[in-house]
């Protein structure tokens, strides 16, 4: 009823190519972004910003990176945790060894280093696909776990192996309070998500999808698999690396290699699959699902238990939340194998006709 595109005619190709061609979508997205910037800092508690919004946004950014590789280019990767670590440690190195660099530049350079390593680890993809490639990227994960734990140079020879993020100065603005951290992360994520969307709807994005859908046909119409695959690895690793640097600097503050273990890789891969392969919106939905649902279950289970007169201890709660979380993942994958993003687009299709189904 309210979600109609009737009467919205496009008279130029650029209007037709817009990210949100339907006016209602544009308004809704603007409202959400404006609310996130202007309203959220005033209404949300510190806990909510610190433990929910900031990590969800950063995970969404990492998921965008992984989705470019897995969802758009069809190259499976289990090494995204390692690339987050590379971004974090590289940004840390730049920040402490070249203190003149502005913080934002260090973080972006962390992403650039991660992109270069990504290209190196993308080379096997020119020969192998699928599960075999997953194993090759798994090697990256283990190698970098080991490297950052054992080689002192990366942690600046701190005896404990744990490193502290430098003070967060963004062009004279010190990012300290939860609200400031939230706004900083939100701004970076919004800008990078827009850039990612532009890439996947553009020429290079079509090359990636062509490689994903049918690599032989792609080669025959003149796409070079090497360029397409390695550019996907580079762009993907850049996003994942920047997300890693943000995770370390803004969310954790001080960290050790364990923060970027294989668990992180799986968490991201789940987020991408549940959110929807090949969808930028899905990355946000998937990251929110993966991060917020366990927290919600932890909080909601004890009162629910009390309702039926069962006093749960902490261990039981965490076991139950694991089981329910796992069950929900399976449930969502069965109901909609293409992820939450597809569920959302189906809902929109229905909404266009509602309340008259014909």
């Amino acid at each position: 009823m309210f979600y109609r595109e009737a009467g919205q005619f496009k008279v130029t190709y650029s209007a037709d190519m817009a990210i949100f061609p339907i006016a209602q979508d544009r308004i809704a997205v603007l409202a959400i972004v404006a609310g996130a910037f202007l309203l959220m800092p005033f209404v949300a508690t510190e806990y909510f910003l610190n433990s929910i919004m900031v990590p969800t946004l950063i995970l969404a950014l990492a998921a965008i990176g992984l989705n470019i590789l897995v969802g758009y280019c069809g190259q499976v990767s289990l090494g995204s945790g390692a690339f987050m670590a590379i971004g974090a440690y590289a940004a840390y190195s730049f920040a402490i060894r070249v203190p003149e660099l502005p913080l934002l530049v260090s973080i972006l350079l962390g992403g650039v280093v991660s992109a270069m390593v990504g290209i190196a680890f993308g080379i096997p993809s020119l020969r192998i696909k699928g599960f075999y490639l997953a194993v090759a990227t798994l090697a990256a994960q283990f190698f970098f776990d080991w490297l950052f734990a054992r080689v002192g140079w990366f942690t600046n020879y701190t005896p404990s192996g744990s490193v502290n993020a430098p003070r967060l100065d963004v062009f004279g603005w010190t990012v300290n309070t939860p609200v400031e951290k939230y706004l900083f992360v939100l701004a970076v994520v919004c800008v990078l998500a827009l850039l990612a969307k532009n890439l996947v709807r553009g020429h290079v994005g079509r090359q990636w999808m062509a490689i994903r859908d049918m690599d032989i046909a792609a080669e025959i119409i003149g796409i070079r698999p090497m360029y397409a695959k390695l550019s996907a690895f580079a762009v993907s690793s850049f996003f994942v690396g920047v997300a890693g640097a943000l995770w370390a600097f803004v969310h954790l503050g001080s960290w050790e290699p364990l923060a970027f273990s294989i668990d992180r890789s799986f968490q991201l891969l789940f987020a991408v699959i549940i959110g929807g392969l090949g969808s930028i919106l899905g990355c946000f939905l998937g990251a929110a699902f993966m991060w917020i649902l366990p927290i919600f279950l932890d909080i909601a289970l004890p009162p629910l238990g009390e309702l039926v007169g069962w006093k749960m201890d902490k261990a039981t709660v965490s076991h139950f939340s694991f089981m329910i979380f796992g069950g929900l993942i399976v449930f969502f994958l069965i109901v909609e194998p293409h992820g939450l993003a597809r569920l959302w687009s189906l809902l929109k299709e229905k909404l266009r006709l509602w309340p008259f189904p014909y």
């Binding site: 190709y13 650029s14 190519m17 850039l195 990612a196 532009n198 890439l199 709807r201 553009g202 020429h203 290079v204 079509r206 090359q207 999808m209 062509a210 994903r212 859908d213 049918m214 032989i216 046909a217 792609a218 080669e219 025959i220 119409i221 003149g222 796409i223 070079r224 550019s231 762009v235 090949g278």
Partner: protein, 263 residues
């Protein structure tokens, strides 16, 4: 019915003594023929005669063990598929090879990938040259969409389209590259009569309007004899006939090998 007899003086591509084998299986043995600029050339033959292998050799997907291919005056024994694409050779496949997850529009836009040059950064910003380039190519692609009469499925993911339309989109993707030589591998296989008529019309129009040289493989003899200028016949990897449709119809070897002999 008037038979179109046209003459084509210039050779665009010539195949000389090509032999291709996979292990012990000889797919092609000592094949030579040429394709002249502007003509519609058909390759026919029974199943397993080596027709598709021949096309795969021409666009660099297979590398023949012997022989050479001269294209636009340059003789070479091997080339990579993307080199063939850069040289202006486009093709469609016997089993549709579209990018299933993408829309019709995106599939055809991908066909223009060789002509799109802006760098990653501009594309990420979607401003300036990247935006201009995208719009300029969109205009070209819309021309192809109009030509093939597929406006209504512009935004539909091709995986959802019926077979006949998918074949048409695949032709569109090949045309988007503005090829000089278009290789069509069974463009009408599995189609009903109306779809075949449409496809014939498109093939003839492409040839007439854009002057594209076409080399097609087809099993429908009526179609082949009607639309092609010259026909080459393969059987068991050997060439058994080459000439205008009328000559092929009378060729004894072809009749016994392919069209069947009455006993």
């Amino acid at each position: 019915m008037t038979v179109r007899v046209r003459s084509f003086p210039d050779v665009l591509l010539s195949v000389e003594n090509i032999s291709l084998s996979f292990g012990g299986v000889k797919a092609l043995t000592d094949i030579s023929f040429d394709i002249r600029k502007g003509e519609i050339r058909a390759i026919i033959g029974p199943n397993g005669a080596g027709k598709s292998s021949m096309l795969n050799c021409i666009n660099g997907f297979y590398h023949p063990q012997q022989g050479a291919i001269t294209y636009k005056g340059v003789r070479r024994s091997q080339m990579r598929p993307h080199e063939a694409a850069e040289q202006g050779i486009a093709r469609t496949f016997q089993n549709i090879a579209l990018f299933k997850g993408m829309s019709t529009l995106d599939n055809i836009m991908t066909g223009r990938n060789l002509r799109m040059k802006t760098g990653l950064l501009w594309q990420a910003l979607h401003l300036g040259p990247a935006r201009r380039e995208e719009i300029e190519h969109r205009r070209e692609v819309e021309r192809i969409i109009d030509f093939l009469e597929i406006q209504h499925i512009r935004k539909t993911p091709v995986g959802r389209l019926p077979y006949g339309l998918q074949k048409r989109v695949e032709l569109g993707r090949a045309l988007a590259a503005q090829p000089e030589l278009l290789l069509l591998d069974e463009p009408m296989a599995g189609m009903n009569i109306e779809e075949k008529q449409d496809m014939c019309r498109f093939v003839l129009d492409v040839n007439d309007e854009f002057g594209t040289t076409i080399c097609l493989i087809e099993h429908d003899m009526g179609v082949v004899m009607d639309i092609s200028d010259r026909v080459v016949v393969l059987d068991y990897g050997k060439k058994i006939g080459d000439g205008q449709p009328d000559e092929i119809k009378k060729n004894e070897a072809v009749i016994s090998a392919y069209l069947g002999v009455s006993h």
